[in-house]
């Protein structure tokens, strides 16, 4: 559809952009990215003919653009600029109607039914029909930009060029505008080339990305290929980390600010734990990076308070989340900063122990109730209601961990727990075999992310050794305490 070969050009004698070659297929959305001054807007201006090209070719539908008159070009290519000011007032409909300029010819060039249909359609599509007779300058920035989108759509050109279309728009309007453009591209097979300032928006909405650096193409490819830590930090000279989008197979990027020096070292100690008949809690000085299967704030996040709450074993509630949240609030915990678990076990029987290693220390806290012990290998044919049993395990690490070490720590901790159950000969009451856990166990791994870098937590790494040993010891002791409390042992 649009074919650019070896393009060079710019403002003065020295080309701002050069050696630019790419092709965009019909219905495809190509995003142009790059730091300030990398020439992305210049490239768009050369393609749209605002700036002269010094070398190379631009072809539309297989024909060189120099073969098109200005009007013919506008029939093929519509451009949506950044927001701009205007001197005199036009109504919304007058503004959108200008999009039909390339389709009008002749001395009197009357307004045809076709023109009216295109304008009405474009206004309806962008939701500005209700402002039809309103002067454009009294609309908000977001609404004005929608009017200009409508103007570009009314042009009904098969190619749409956008220059940072979401500049100065709030996130709702950004999303609205790009959703409109995206769905238009999909429904009508419009080819879109857009300059983006925001890497995450570009990654979300584009099929392919073109990353520019100093007037040349640094990379062109799918968002997953282009939005990579090394690529983005290399071109933008910024520390970034990419993560998967929660809903779509698209990468999203986060800045890593250089504030590590400001962060004072701090550690968590065993003494910071508080135990009462209501709950076991830990309040850390600063948030810990946490991965857990808790009731409140499960998953990955940063939290500074951790609560393992005692509930009656007949605790039954329709909305456990809400009930637990109101409990945490009542107890003075800030909901967004707190991870909350529940147990039917007497919380005073918690086993808390600090284990020191060469890198720092690991604190393990376990509450164990084994009334509903389960052999995980024998549950497939079982038809049983979930019951509270619960071995709740916390592993707090004074060290810096990557995501994979969190996962390894969870594996190591789980294996250690299972081994403790085995050595304590805890049986699954239904099968009589050695249990591997209970039906509703929970696990939490949290790290201060200060101090030593601990890349792995497998069973024979320095961190893994402490986690394995510590969880085994604490779980075994907690089981013994549970047995004793139940009067099963002396």
């Amino acid at each position: 559809m649009l074919n650019v070969q070896n393009l060079a050009g710019g403002y003065g004698k020295d080309p701002v952009v050069q050696h630019i070659s790419f092709e965009v297929k019909k219905g495809e959305i190509l995003g142009i990215l790059g730091p300030n001054g990398s020439g992305k807007s210049t490239l768009l201006k050369i393609i749209s003919g605002i700036l002269p090209k010094q070398d190379g070719t631009v072809e539309i539908e297989g024909k060189d653009v120099s073969a098109y008159s200005q009007k013919q070009f506008a029939q093929k290519v519509a451009v949506l600029p950044q927001l701009h000011a205007h001197a005199f007032s036009h109504t919304v409909k007058e503004t959108v109607s200008l999009g039909r300029y390339p389709h009008q010819s002749g001395l009197f060039s009357t307004w045809s039914k076709e023109d009216e249909r295109a304008v009405q359609e474009a206004m309806a599509y962008t939701g500005v029909t209700k402002y039809e007779d309103t002067p454009i300058e009294i609309l908000s920035g977001g609404e004005q930009q929608r009017v200009f989108v409508a103007q570009a759509l009314a042009q009904e050109a098969p190619i749409l060029l956008l220059d940072e279309p979401t500049n100065h728009l709030d996130i709702a309007h950004q999303q609205q505008l790009l959703d409109t453009v995206r769905s238009h591209a999909v429904e009508k097979g419009i080819t879109v080339v857009s300059v983006f300032h925001d890497i995450n928006l570009a990654a979300l909405y584009c099929d392919r990305l073109l990353l520019m650096e100093k007037g040349r193409i640094a990379m062109i490819g799918s968002p997953l290929d282009v939005v990579r830590d090394s690529m983005i930090s290399g071109v933008y000279k910024a520390r970034v980390k990419t993560q998967p989008h929660p809903e779509l197979p698209k990468p999203q990027m986060t800045l890593l600010p250089d504030t590590m020096e400001e962060m004072k070292p701090f550690i968590v100690t065993k003494e910071q734990f508080q135990v009462s008949s209501k709950h076991v809690s830990l309040s850390a000085g600063q948030p810990l990076k946490t991965l857990s299967s808790a009731v409140h704030n499960a998953g990955m996040g940063w939290y500074r308070a951790f609560v393992n709450r005692h509930v009656d074993k007949d605790y039954n509630c329709d909305d456990v989340q809400a009930e637990n949240a109101s409990y945490l609030e009542r107890e003075g915990f800030h909901l967004t900063e707190t991870v909350g678990m529940m147990t039917a076990v007497t919380t005073e029987h918690v086993e808390i122990e600090e284990f020191a290693g060469d890198f720092g220390s690991v604190i393990v806290a376990v509450t164990a109730g084994i009334g509903n012990a389960v052999d995980v290998s024998k549950t497939l044919t079982r038809d049983q209601k979930q019951q509270i049993g619960t071995i709740n395990t916390w592993v707090i690490v004074n060290g810096r961990l990557p995501d994979e070490a969190f996962i390894q720590a969870m594996i190591t901790a789980t294996e250690a727990k299972t081994k403790a159950l085995q050595d304590e000969t805890i049986l699954d009451p239904l099968t009589g075999t050695i249990a591997t856990g209970t039906s509703t166990d929970s696990l939490l791994v949290a790290a201060t992310q200060r101090g030593e870098w601990l890349p792995y937590a497998g069973p024979i790494t320095s961190l893994g050794k402490l986690v394995g040993h510590g969880v085994y010891e604490c779980t075994a002791r907690a089981i013994r305490a549970y047995k004793k409390a139940k009067g099963w042992t002396v």
């Binding site: 749209s48 003919g49 605002i50 008159s69 200005q70 009007k71 013919q72 070009f73 506008a74 029939q75 519509a78 451009v79 600029p81 701009h84 205007h86 001197a87 005199f88 007032s89 036009h90 109504t91 007058e94 503004t95 200008l98 999009g99 300029y101 390339p102 009008q104 001395l107 060039s109 009294i138 103007q151 042009q155």
Partner: protein, 330 residues
């Protein structure tokens, strides 16, 4: 009936009324019947030999200045622009004042020496301004054109001031010409100016949709498919032809070219497809009325019409401006 239709009807009707008032009012009352009944020879002579050519010339000058002003304001995206922004009028004035200053009279041209010199002055200035602007900046950005106009306008203005300073007896004549007047010109002036009015207005009217697009900036107009450079050139030439010829036959009449487009915009919107034609009609009306006042208010003496345009125009403009802003605020 939509708003645009009403706009055209109202504008045309006021013009007809203005023409009728213009020809009938004066020291001698001319009844409407004179148009078809030529038994009263005095009235017939006054109507066709004196008042009608005067009213038509006033109308043509007013229309020219107003449509040129509307086009320049749109093209330069500047509400302060008027037909005189480009400096073409200063060129026309210099041509005229040179004729008066040196008492020139080319035998073949006779009394038309002045308007013809004036038009030559306007044409030379137009080519110089556009040529210089193009030399400075090949893409001829709006700012370049405005600045070039200011440079040439102030230079020519100083030439005018010099001649006024050096002049003796002709001072009154020069000042009188500069203030602008349409009196005692006759049909020949109309014949002289009419082709320029038709050509200039037609060129501007051809670019009505392009002017709409250019209100959003040259880049946007380019994106919408306008051949910006050619269209800009056409508009500048069209407006200059109108301005130069109007100044040549009537002197520098202020205010009409600045304010009529604004009044028209406030009343009927800024769509150039209608704004140009409506400004044309309203400019004619305004200058006819102003000329009527200029020659009757201290009768039998006459005031220069340029004095009246500002005197009447400013309060009317203030009123419309006030009403529109109040309406917008509520």
């Amino acid at each position: 009936m939509n708003k645009t239709g009403i706009a055209y009807i109202v504008s045309a009707a006021t013009l007809v009324v203005a023409v009728w008032l213009g020809v009938s009012i004066g020291t001698v009352k001319v009844p409407l019947s004179t148009f078809w009944d030529s038994t009263d020879t005095t009235a017939t002579n006054i109507l066709w030999k004196i008042r009608m050519p005067r009213v038509i010339l006033a109308g043509l000058v007013g229309a020219s200045l107003a449509i040129a002003g509307a086009a320049f304001q749109g093209l330069l995206k500047n509400p302060l622009a008027d037909p005189y922004t480009l400096g073409v009028s200063s060129g026309a004035s210099v041509g005229a004042v040179v004729t008066l200053f040196f008492g020139l009279s080319i035998p073949m041209l006779g009394t038309y020496t002045l308007p013809i010199f004036s038009m030559v002055g306007a044409a030379l200035t137009m080519f110089l301004v556009l040529g210089f602007a193009r030399l400075v900046d090949r893409s001829m950005k709006m700012e370049t054109i405005i600045l070039t106009g200011i440079i040439f306008g102030s230079f020519l203005g100083s030439v005018l001031s010099l001649m006024i300073a050096l002049t003796g007896e002709e001072l009154r004549q020069i000042i009188g010409w500069l203030l602008g007047s349409v009196s005692m010109r006759g049909w020949k002036y109309i014949v002289m100016v009419l082709p320029f009015v038709v050509i200039g207005s037609f060129i501007l009217w051809l670019n009505r949709r392009e002017l709409n697009a250019m209100l959003f900036g040259e880049e946007r107009a380019h994106h919408l498919g306008v051949n910006v450079r050619r269209r800009k050139f056409m508009i500048l030439i069209g407006g200059s032809i109108l301005t130069g010829s109007a100044v040549a036959v009537s002197g520098t009449i202020g205010f009409v070219g600045l304010v009529v487009p604004h009044m028209t915009r406030l009343l009927w919107g800024s769509d150039h497809r209608h704004l140009l034609t409506l400004s044309f009609l309203n400019g004619a009306t305004l200058l006819i009325i102003c000329d009527l006042i200029a020659r009757t208010i201290i009768s039998p003496s006459e005031l220069p019409v340029g004095v009246i345009t500002s005197f009447i125009g400013a309060p009317v403009f203030a009123y419309i401006f006030y009403r529109q802003r109040r309406k917008g605020a509520i």
